[in-house]
């Protein structure tokens, strides 16, 4: 008779850019209250249910793979969250934003209301009860980045910090700050939308075009 393995796996964590930002700012926001698990880097097509050596070897190609270290950029980790569904679930939730990219003119407004396919049942599309998590990689590109009608609180310090809001509809207004463009005519960033209940995630590019008619709040003719 052997000993049961009762060991606990201990792993070291690193702070993300957002974590460091909140820790440095001394705001109350640096308080860990929730967790999620993800399977970033796993390619399930490597799982081989017809492995000649039997079921103990189906996951062989995955279980022995070395993993990369954690990235500090909060937008590049926790991409594919593990989710809890009842046994027998045959279809996974799929996020639908109704668009594959966001293109906006300077100071223009836009709303995005995500829907989730298979959320209530196979083939049905609906909004998730818990809403959606919207993360913009560079919040400087917006003067308004709010979920539903919650107050928009954008504080930027010159660097490209991300911002996360939660709700059912994302309301955006592109920045009116001309200096951000420099000599460029467009600014790019990414928008990440994650279903709170399903964990399903989509990342789409965001492009803000400089308006030749916009002059720091004074429209020219």
């Amino acid at each position: 008779m052997g000993y049961l393995n009762n060991s606990v796996i201990t792993i070291d964590a690193i702070l993300t850019k957002k974590g460091r930002e909140l820790l440095a700012s001394g705001q109350k926001g640096f308080e860990i209250t929730q967790f999620a698990l993800s399977d970033d880097e796993i390619d399930y097509t490597l799982y081989n249910p017809s492995h000649p050596s039997g079921s103990a070897y189906y996951g062989e190609a995955i279980e022995n793979m070395p993993l990369l270290e954690a990235f500090p950029d909060e937008n590049q980790v926790m991409k594919y969250k593990l989710a809890t569904f009842p046994k027998g679930t045959a279809v996974m939730a799929v996020l639908d934003l109704g668009q594959s990219s966001v293109n906006m003119l300077q100071v223009s407004k836009k709303s995005i209301t995500p829907q989730t396919l298979n959320y209530l049942g196979a083939g049905q599309t609906s909004a998730e009860t818990g809403g959606y998590i919207f993360t913009i990689s560079d919040v400087r590109l917006f003067s308004k980045f709010q979920a539903d009608s919650k107050p928009s609180d954008i504080q930027v310090y010159g660097t490209n910090v991300s911002k996360t809001v939660t709700g059912n509809t994302l309301n955006l207004q592109a920045t009116g700050v001309n200096t951000l463009f420099g000599s460029r005519t467009t600014l790019q960033t990414t928008l990440i939308v994650t279903g709170v209940d399903s964990g399903t995630r989509l990342q789409i590019p965001v492009t803000i075009r400089r308006s030749p008619l916009y002059n720091g709040g004074n429209e020219t003719t």
């Binding site: 792993i11 964590a13 957002k18 640096f30 967790f35 799982y47 926790m78």
Partner: protein
């Protein structure tokens, strides 16, 4: 995302000790200087000591040695018209301000008021938070004369504080054990103690008069040069004596606050994934039929969030961890501050 139970968050404050020197070496036996640094402007004030030749790729400053003199002796005046104003005088004032905090204060080593001393300042990254008391073993040798020095924390009954934190006397001994052959306190016979150990700022002061004394008195006849308006290379003399002595052992001490989070994935949880390779096509069908009633996922990453769902910290496993309806996972995440 799942809320953490407050009982699953534990804060631990631990004292971590390690060696002070590069490559985790417990003892420094060779003491190298940089001819460029010594010849430069900073060389007038102090000499940096490396664990290997300063031009080696792994060379790192271990500590600096500065000679300090109340009268400004042993170094050349900044201006010949201003007598006594020299780097050694500047050093003296600097350490007096830092350690005593009173421009009229004196350095009293044991029962002897010293007017000149050597200051060893350990590189900040090496001593981390503070010098670990009772670990020092410093050997100074010139010719046939040798003294072994340590701090007197093992016999000092009353905690003494200066403006730079705790103060201990530097006495004859080794690794915290005080030698009382010359004096019951481990001092010299007539020049007081061998200096001060200031663990909170990583500074060791060496009483020049004690080292200059005879072997019978407890010194090594270091022969500190105290000529006026003359570079007597005080720090070099001490470094030469360290090289001959061949032993400088010291440990550092640091208080680390760690937060441990215990993450539990119960058997019914986290058995499906939003990973795009888990489904086939655009309508969400699961990749393999066997995954419908016996799904298998692989945990690689743990994300920790605040109430606003902002990702504050992330931890990666060294290899994928299998999760299915028959398995539970318990992970302990360590966050150091």
């Amino acid at each position: 995302m799942e809320n953490l139970n407050p009982k699953d968050i534990v804060t631990s404050i631990d004292s971590v000790t390690s060696t002070v020197w590069s490559d985790n070496a417990p003892t420094l036996t060779h003491f190298y200087t940089s001819s460029v640094q010594v010849a430069g402007n900073s060389g007038r004030f102090y000499s940096s000591v490396y664990q290997t030749g300063s031009d080696e790729s792994n060379a790192a400053v271990q500590f600096d040695v500065a000679y300090c003199d109340e009268q400004g002796s042993g170094s050349v005046f900044y201006n010949a018209l201003v007598t006594g104003s020299s780097p050694s005088r500047t050093n003296y004032g600097q350490y007096r301000n830092l350690i005593i905090g009173d421009e009229y204060g004196s350095f009293v080593f044991g029962d002897y008021t010293g007017s000149y001393f050597y200051a060893i300042t350990i590189d900040r990254a090496r001593y981390k938070e503070k010098i670990m008391l009772g670990t020092m073993d410093l050997s100074i040798k010139k010719g046939a004369n040798v003294v072994k020095l340590t701090d007197n924390s093992s016999i000092q009954t009353t905690q003494v504080f200066k403006d730079a934190g705790r103060k201990y006397e530097l006495v004859s001994g080794s690794a915290g054990t005080v030698y009382t052959g010359k004096n019951d306190n481990g001092w010299t016979t007539s020049s007081g103690s061998y200096g001060w150990v200031l663990p909170d700022v990583g500074i060791i002061l060496l009483n020049g008069a004690a080292l200059d004394g005879s072997a019978a008195a407890g010194g090594v006849l270091l022969a500190t040069g105290r000529n006026s308006n003359q570079n007597d290379t005080g720090s070099k003399k001490l470094i030469d004596a360290l090289n001959t002595g061949d032993v400088f052992t010291l440990n550092s001490e640091e208080t680390l606050s760690s937060k441990y989070l215990f993450i539990r994935a119960r058997n019914k949880d986290y058995n499906y994934t939003s990973n795009p390779s888990f489904i086939s096509g655009s309508t969400g069908e699961i990749l393999y039929d066997s995954f419908i009633y016996n799904p298998k996922t692989y945990v690689t990453t743990v994300g920790m969030y605040n109430a606003d769902q902002e990702l504050l910290a992330v931890a990666k496993l060294s290899r994928p961890l299998l999760k299915d309806f028959s398995k539970e996972v318990l992970l302990r995440i360590k966050l150091d501050f």
